[in-house]
Symmetry: C2
Subunit: 231 residues, 2 copies
């Protein structure tokens, strides 16, 4: 369906989509601290969480990590997700981390709308990615993304807080979780603060992969208001 | 494999195996409070979480709720789990809740070892369930259960705190999570307090069901100690 708003994240079995926070400048870029134990732990848990992602042919191609790579269900889904996406929306924190870690040819190849408090001029990257900085709120960012996506869909890329804001706001149509067979024990929980009185799920697909992950896709439905007599 | 120690729980997509606590005597038994909004919320979320469980033929038969019921993958797995189990281990809180809600013919049909601080005489129920109250710790309870199970396996039945204690103690061989397509937003988290530096998982099976749940089975492995030079 054109204009579907979705997200697709990798989650640990205990519900985390990222290890316990460390400052992004410690992780990536010129002032990174590869010898810091917290940084080492973050990178090691991030690798475990994405163990099935990093070897994929599509991932390697898109991040310009080299030829070859794993094919099969995980790769097909990663590629299909990329191809259906006509625009991305992301939070400022994800952009800040990505700015330090993406290659010059950023891996989106669409307009990307960054929700921020600090407007700045659009930033065009080689390969079709242009970052637009939107300081008029999440709904405006989504409207702009939907207009830019045309016949394709809009992906809420992350991070966790941004995804949750759209989900609780009733603005997400569909979500896919790649459930990774790992336990992190701490970090950013995808559903921390979910409005369970409002958001319900309808299971669409559950796709186990030989890699050990399971791809779970749900439609998001708004829960009908309770039919209580009281005001 | 005879003597396997396992647990099998139903978990929401946001990681909860029970809704937010209410006193068990408010939920079940002679002094229950069916009009209390917290009780209504608990029961409604519990029903959502177990939407695929309650209609099963095996569940209805085992809880003496009547003839008939759903057959298929979910039912086959519930029955197989029951049949492989030669003894159960549970925490005191789960026993207290069950004592108020199980039928006289309790749904275990094996010896059940209740980990408690208050020893009492064994309590034999019709249909083959005998509750033994063990005040000598979790390991003793498990040893007794393994001896009682003979050629069959031991199920750590619950609740969450008891399961986690066995898991962090390195005493669980295998776990199955029936992942339910619901979000609870609060409650008892299965993996709250997991020792992620010790416990790792090896995916064994991922079985999507037409009911919308996915049954995920993992072997539990102890993480090798880090090969650090420091003492």
């Amino acid at each position: 369906m054109a204009g579907t708003v979705f997200f697709h994240v990798t989650m640990s079995l205990d519900g985390y989509i990222a290890p316990k926070d460390v400052p992004v400048q410690d992780l990536f870029g010129p002032s990174s601290k590869p010898d810091d134990p917290d940084v080492q732990r973050w990178l090691s848990q991030w690798s475990e969480l994405h163990r099935a992602t990093f070897p994929l042919r599509f991932f390697r191609e898109n991040l310009q990590l080299g030829e070859g790579g794993e094919e099969g269900l995980d790769d097909d889904l990663a590629r299909a997700t990329h191809e259906r996406t006509g625009a991305h929306v992301m939070g400022r924190r994800m952009f800040d981390a990505g700015e330090l870690s993406w290659p010059a040819e950023a891996p989106f190849h669409t307009p990307v709308f960054v929700v921020t408090h600090h407007a700045r001029d659009p930033w065009e990257r080689p390969g079709g990615t242009t970052f637009h900085f939107v300081d008029e709120g999440t709904e405006t960012a989504l409207d702009l993304a939907l207009a830019a996506a045309g016949e394709r869909d809009v992906r809420i890329s992350g991070g966790g807080a941004t995804i949750l804001q759209y989900l609780n706001g009733g603005l997400v149509d569909e979500l896919t979780i790649t459930l990774s067979p790992v336990l992190l024990g701490s970090g950013t929980r995808l559903f921390e603060g979910i409005d369970a009185d409002r958001v319900t799920l309808e299971p669409l697909r559950s796709q186990p992969s030989p890699s050990g992950v399971t791809h779970l896709t749900y439609a998001v439905r708004e829960r009908p208001a309770p039919s209580r007599g009281a005001a």
